[in-house]
């Protein structure tokens, strides 16, 4: 017959296997309720209290089976849980490219809307940059500056969120963060502002330099830092309730 189930041990093992802390708490609570129901159902029967609790634990199941089932069922919930290779190894590169496309498309849309609503306040077509309004120039420079940072940052946060909901090990989203960092480091954008109508240039590319610029190293570091922070926070949540000594009768557990 199995020994008493230990909520601390169960919780530790479930967390180690990648389940979120909140879910683990809920699971332990309901298992505890079930053990209580089993013990109560044996009231009036023969046997000591300790035997009844042992039998209840036996019927709930052994720790390896409970943990395996909980992990298997949790992973079935999400696409990332069912397909970690696709989500964390294959998807990051196309996802980042799509994020950049959406970023520039959004910038273009915002510009069109601004011109439509504001008219000459925002119109820069056909003008050399010396004639651009200062706020437009600053907005453009900020947009270009953020281009290597914002899209990789957003996909990093999204993927870490998927990782926390997938029930998979933290290594999966960490690997995805490495891929995001690599792409962010390769990203290069160069703007030549027009000195005359039709002379402006915008160059966007991914290239590998033997001597990367400091800025490229910074772009590479940001997804890594953010990813590390989010994964650390997922792995070390704030504890809400103190752990119980054992499922069932706590006095018996302390005596053991």
């Amino acid at each position: 017959m199995n020994g008493p189930l230990s909520p601390d041990r169960l919780a530790r093992e479930l967390r180690r296997r990648g389940l979120p802390a909140e879910y683990v708490e809920r699971l332990i609570e309901e298992w505890q309720d079930h053990v209580d129901d089993l013990v109560v159902s044996q009231e009036g029967g023969h046997g000591m209290e300790a035997e009844k609790i042992c039998l209840a634990h036996h019927r709930v199941g052994d720790e390896p089976t409970l943990v395996d089932t909980a992990v298997k069922e949790f992973r079935k919930r999400t696409f990332a849980g069912r397909h970690p290779v696709l989500t964390f190894l294959l998807a990051p590169i196309p996802l980042t490219v799509v994020a950049w496309i959406l970023y520039f498309f959004t910038g273009y849309l915002v510009g069109c809307v601004a011109v439509f609503l504001g008219g000459d306040w925002f119109r820069i077509e056909g003008k050399p940059f010396a004639e651009w309004p200062a706020y437009v120039l600053w907005a453009q420079m900020a947009f270009v500056f953020a281009a290597p940072i914002v899209p990789p940052l957003l996909v990093t946060m999204l993927t870490c969120r998927w990782g926390s909901m997938s029930g998979r090990s933290w290594l999966w989203p960490a690997t995805a963060c490495l891929l995001f960092a690599f792409l962010a480091g390769l990203f290069h954008i160069n703007v030549e502002y027009p000195y005359a109508p039709g002379t402006g240039k915008l160059m966007i590319c991914l290239f590998f330099s033997k001597r990367p610029l400091n800025s490229q190293l910074l772009h590479c570091a940001i997804p890594l830092i953010i990813g590390a922070f989010l994964l650390f926070r997922h792995g070390h949540p704030r504890r809400r309730t103190p752990p119980a000594a054992s499922l069932g009768d706590p006095t018996l557990a302390r005596a053991a």
Partner: protein, 119 residues
Amino acid sequence: MSRTRTNPDYLNGVPELLILHLLSRRPMYGYEIVRAIEESTEQALEFGEGCIYPVLHRLEAGGSLASRRELVGGRSRVVYRVTPAGKKKLVQSENHWRAIVAAVEKVLRGEEHERPALA
């Protein structure tokens, strides 16, 4: 008394079907569901009792069930009930199950299928 626990592959999906069916009759908490499965199947099907909770949680996350902590018999328990989406899923699962059982039965009974005539 030791219990024999088996989980052959062809029983995948069976716990969900049974849970949805039982909860469509009335809301229950986990212990009640386990007892209801045991009684309804006359102990022909046995599930690791603690293993039912991850299945319940998955069904809830998928929108088939809803849960709420309630007082039952003077004690606080998490009671599960099936949602409209769960009822839809139950109907689909039952139809699917009946089709599979009928097809397998045909094979086991050894009914011969007619060979098409050759030109």
